[in-house]
């Protein structure tokens, strides 16, 4: 229903999991990224009574305290993707080095910060080969790309997340998973979805460097400071693996995954 449901090919993954070829509209709102508030971008216009499908229970509680109801915790599309691709359950044989995700903005909110400082912080913490994954709008900016390329990093993008159902790269997350499998470590300058994804499949996570600021970030989210207060143990250059596992299990809602039948039931989907 809401166009954000289709970001990153989430709706396609869910359809695939539920046994459908192409995603019909989802009856409700699907959380599209790791979120520290009610599960959705600030200013999302909710239609009363529509179900809100979120990744984790924490999101549901915060949303409830803000007056939202009709939450269903179903876990993240990423976790469903892992179920769909058992062939990617293990690291690639040649897995090595670090994949680094500089914190991304999107078309409407750009991040403010110095990419040069990120390069320096990467060199400070990483030893093996480094792949830098930029979001699509930053990847298109040759200046930003060159900063990383000149540092000797491999620069890639997973694609375009889509907007208003158009140009969604259906294989966005699959590309990400494939790429992640080729590395041993995942890092970012901000605790974000990408770090969670990487850590969830056993990459050693690291968070360090200038967290950069999102343009016009809404204060209701509390900013990076709030994230650091909530999860100080995750905001370290080298996060212990057991800590990371517990954190990603909780935040990606791995204990909350629903069966294909239940997904069809919840999303009001029918098998063709």
């Amino acid at each position: 229903m809401h166009h954000a449901n289709h970001f990153y090919g989430h709706a396609h993954i869910m359809a695939d999991y539920a046994g459908l070829e192409y995603p019909p509209r989802i009856w409700g709102y699907l959380q599209h990224g790791w979120n520290i508030l009610d599960g959705f971008a600030h200013g999302t216009e909710f239609v009363d009574g529509m179900p809100l499908f979120v990744w984790s229970d924490g999101v549901r509680r915060r949303g409830w305290s803000m007056g939202r109801r009709n939450y269903y915790v179903i876990g993240s599309p990423w976790s469903y993707l892992l179920k769909l691709h058992p062939e990617l359950a293990t690291p690639a044989p040649d897995a090595a080095g670090t994949i680094h995700y500089p914190f991304h903005g999107w078309e409407g909110q750009h991040v403010l910060g110095d990419h040069g400082r990120i390069v320096r912080s990467i060199n400070e913490h990483e030893e093996g080969p480094v792949t830098v994954c930029l979001y699509w709008n930053e990847y298109r900016n040759a200046d930003i790309r060159h900063v990383y390329e000149n540092a000797g990093f491999r620069v890639i993008t997973h694609g375009y997340r889509g907007l208003y159902w158009r140009k969604t790269d259906e294989n966005f997350l699959l590309k990400q998973l494939t790429e992640v499998r080729r590395h041993k470590r995942v890092a970012s300058n901000r605790l974000s979805s990408a770090v969670l994804y990487g850590a969830s499949v056993g990459l050693q996570p690291g968070v360090y460097g200038d967290p950069m600021l999102l343009q016009n970030e809404h204060p209701a989210f509390g900013g990076v400071a709030r994230i650091k207060r909530m999860w100080p143990e995750m905001n370290l250059p080298f996060v212990p693996m057991d800590v990371a596992k517990a954190f990603t299990d909780t935040e990606l809602g791995n204990d909350y995954l629903a069966s294909p039948e239940e997904i069809r039931e919840l999303f009001r989907w029918k098998l063709n």
Binding site: R61, R62, W64, S65, M66, P219, G222, A225, R229, P232
Partner: protein, 638 residues
Amino acid sequence: MTASETQETLSSRITLLGGEMLNWSDLTGSSGQGPFASPLVVPILSQLLNKSTTALIVGPTAPWLLERLSDQVGSLDIVVRSWPDAHALNLRLNGKPVRIFCGGFEKFAEPAGSYDVVLAMDGIPRVFSADSEDLPWLDTLHRLRDLVKPGGRLVLGVTNGLGLDAMLDADSSVKPPTDDIWATNSQIELEAPAGLDAVRAALASAGLSTDQHYAVYPQATKTSLMVHERVLSGHTGDEVLAILASSAFAQGLGARPVLTDPRRMAREMMRHGTGLSLAPGWLFVTSAESPDARPPAGPDQGTDEDGDFGYPDALITDNLEHPYWAIVSKLSRDADGHWQRSLVKVGRSTSSRASGHLQREPSKLAGSVPEGTLLEEQFLTACRHDDLNALRRLVRSYAQWLHDTAELKPWTDPWSANSSADERLVIPGGAVFATFENVMYDGKRMAVLDGSWNTTLQVPYEIALTRALRRFGYRVLAGGLRHPWPSGMSPNRLTVTLASMVGVTVTPHLLERSARLEVELEGQQRNNTEAGDQQLYFELQTMGEQPMGTEPGQPRGYREALATVGRLSTELAEAQSQIEWLDMTVQLREDQLRKERRQAADIKNSVSFAIGRGVTAPFRFLFRAFRPIFRAMTPGAK
């Protein structure tokens, strides 16, 4: 720098713990049920605090209470979960020895044994934020205990899951849940253990010995009555406690939908000696073990005239919603069961107050609590038993008593444009407040229970009597309580009926004047606006005329509603059978009539009748011809 970070730097006394709730406020009550607020704990806590005490207070607590406590200690740390609350407190407590910690309590990392006194009057569940990991109640209790120095004190509020308030509330657990009831882990018990024994065991297992234990009413967080455990345990049927609990519940539950009349149930709770187990909450003053090392505790300033306060049998306040009029007093019961009341100074609670025509002198409240039973209760009992004779006796005794206070004076109607004075029986200002719910009667003597109220208005005896009777009428009818009259009774009608028992004729004018008096007194007490006064007057005038029990929302209690439905059904069935009986009687009469008409027709058609008509025809003709003359001869006829 984001907005919150900017404010964080400005508010240097605030430490953000993590999991702070950014879009939430417990203090304003906009998001939940409001903070813990009660003046009754002030004299209790004052005894635990002095200028060298290091204290910690957790959970939502009213700012005025925090301000008062922060004046009595060496340092006060406050843990709140809401960021707007932390910021508001930071401004409010400017210049006080206070540190504010904001976030989920599980992230509060002060070392063990940091405090002389830890205060958690609001209890445990609300120290956690929506971001907190669920921690069992017992674990949190241990954590609180750890923060107390050996020999220090922990004051803990515990909500009773089976408290009378929870049992009476008709919709709290079934209406759409509010924002503060976010989902929690169903495997982890965040609430206190079930039942007083379990709570006591939990405290003991945490190494806490209970020094003082109070039962609190009518709500754990909005306390207007505290009764010491030693008074409640092993005791039955105390009339004074029943009255206190009854009025606390009446004021505290307000107009919320209930399962049954709260005043009645509160009264029965005390009468049955279950005041302790059914209390909405308990307040425990406990010591962390190692009693020899107990820090010297004592009040810096006297809370009482003699400075020796102790832990009284009961503490009571009123008008929590309208604190201007509030009085705080303590009660003690002697070996014979007689109660003594004395005033407690919390802020200006002992000073006299006046507004408009209304006055309150707290000093008049001090002294022995009158013996006997509440007059209203005696009336209700008589009503319940359909004992009209007892009702007559009670109304007569009351009217006589009121009449005896009156004296003949020139009186000017304050609500009339006509300012001419005439001689009327006027009662003293204090007697105006001697309504049924405020009079004790021991069968011989009547006495006012709360004599602190007064009015400067000159009130004639009939108006005061009418007001008292009408208040009782509302009480019976709005509560849906049993009474000997038909269910279509209105409060005004009931007033007329009761007044007729003492030979007073209640006119619409008298009812109107008693409504005006009610507005003057009630309106002033509730601090009403002009519009509020008009609304109250309108309600009294219109609702007074309407039969209650048929209005939406009346009566409030589900049980009383069922009783009303039952009574109405019975009366409907009775009315139906009356109609059937009338119908049958009418039918019988019609049959009879038809039979007689047939007889008449038979006679008319008979030969003998025809002969008779023929024989009498000339006389009839003559009579008709002379009729005008006869008429003229008859005086007055036309």
